[in-house]
């Protein structure tokens, strides 16, 4: 149990998908103009990363490893991720068309989010059990959502601040993102300790 908790803290904070591994930067800069849209995107990505990691684990163990098809890993995982996004979209549409109209805009963006593929490939390197890999993927995506919401909050404040004209918009956004990344580096002290 303790190992699981430490692994999850490590995946969410110490080796954060966005700020330590630099994955998913498109959505990090593109969808973080408001907290609510960032939270919506974060939850959708959390769902897709977790569900696709479950499917990826099964594909890796029962298909790629079993038949020596490891060289097809990246292509197969991309297919699994696209299927997971399609599954999510169909499910949301079936569960509630109104929800689909509200949340459907985030789903196509997730297909091209490299964080989803990055987490899936990290799981293969980790050689974990099914529950271990699922928890790792869940924690990684929670870390992604956390950073998205924090950054969206900072950008909402920035919108009200007096920023020099040359730095307004994306430049000050990148500076704030780098400061946030440095702040998250402090979590690496947990692993060192």
């Amino acid at each position: 149990m303790k190992d699981f908790v430490l692994m999850m803290i490590g995946a969410a904070l110490v080796n954060n998908v966005i700020l330590a591994r630099f994955l998913g930067l498109c959505s990090f800069m593109g969808v973080t103009t408001r907290i609510d849209t960032a939270a919506g995107m974060g939850l959708a990505t959390t769902f897709v990363i977790t569900v696709s990691s479950m499917a990826d684990w099964a594909v890796q163990h029962y298909l790629l490893d079993a038949y020596g098809l490891g060289f097809l890993r990246t292509v197969t995982f991309i297919l699994v991720i696209a299927s997971a996004v399609q599954f999510t979209e169909m499910t949301i549409k079936k569960v509630s068309p109104t929800l689909f109209r509200m949340l459907g805009i985030y789903l196509p963006l997730i297909t091209t989010n490299c964080a989803v593929l990055g987490v899936a490939l990290l799981l293969v390197e980790g050689h974990m059990s099914f529950i271990g890999s699922t928890m790792f993927a869940f924690a990684s995506s929670l870390g992604y959502s956390l950073v998205m919401v924090i950054f969206a909050g900072l950008r909402e404040r920035l919108a009200l601040a007096r920023v020099p004209r040359l730095f307004a918009g994306p430049p000050i956004g990148f500076i704030v993102a780098s400061l946030l990344a440095m702040a998250f580096m402090g979590f690496s002290g947990i692993s060192a300790g």
């Binding site: 498109c26 959505s27 593109g30 969808v31 103009t33 408001r34 907290i35 609510d36 849209t37 939270a39 919506g40 995107m41 939850l43 959708a44 959390t46 769902f47 977790t50 569900v51 479950m54 099964a58 163990h61 499910t91 949301i92 549409k93 079936k94 569960v95 509630s96 109104t98 929800l99 689909f100 109209r101 509200m102 949340l103 459907g104 805009i105 985030y106 196509p108 963006l109 297909t111 091209t112 059990s129 099914f130 529950i131 699922t134 928890m135 869940f138």
Partner: protein, 164 residues
């Protein structure tokens, strides 16, 4: 008068175009096609192309009571309460995930086998999706998820320029 326009609610705004009128109901097609808000802006990123397929837009059409004399082709600003968006996302995504992970964790603790854990996780996910369906039905019945008319869009206004 629109209650959202005068109350303290924070709304998530979006631009929609009136595509047809049926009696007192106007059917709208949302203009924002990506989560990043590039919408009709001339310099959108690659995400712009993903959601602009006609069939995809048609799926996202929604009705609105036409009490403001809307006409076909008009661009209007609609809004939903920001809390409704968070509630919707929690219902659709967090609930199924929680049940799936809970069921998987229990199976791992009880049996310790990967196959049993996978089966339990899949069962938990299915149960969570059913629960989400019930929750979404309740939210929709309360009218929390329905968009409201806020105002007519200014010429050249996009979802990225609306707040300026």
């Amino acid at each position: 008068m629109n209650p959202l326009a005068t109350s303290d609610f924070h709304t998530v705004e979006g631009i929609a175009r009136v595509v047809c009128l049926e009696g007192s109901v106007a059917w709208l097609e949302p203009e924002q096609t990506g989560g990043c808000g590039s919408c009709a802006a001339s310099s959108g990123c690659g995400a712009k192309g993903i959601g602009t397929v006609a069939s995809r837009m048609e799926i996202r059409r929604f009705p609105l009571a036409n009490v403001d004399g809307l006409r076909v082709g008009e661009r209007i600003v609609v809004g939903v309460c920001d809390r409704a968006l968070i509630h919707a996302a929690l219902t659709a995504y967090a609930l199924p995930l929680a049940t799936a992970l809970g069921a998987g964790g229990l199976a791992e603790w009880a049996m310790g086998s990967d196959l049993a854990t996978m089966a339990a996780t899949a069962a938990g996910l299915s149960a969570g999706i059913l629960a989400a369906r019930i929750g979404a039905g309740r939210l929709a019945a309360r009218g929390d998820l329905a968009p409201h008319f806020l105002r007519r869009a200014r010429p050249g206004e996009t979802c990225g320029t609306g707040e300026q």
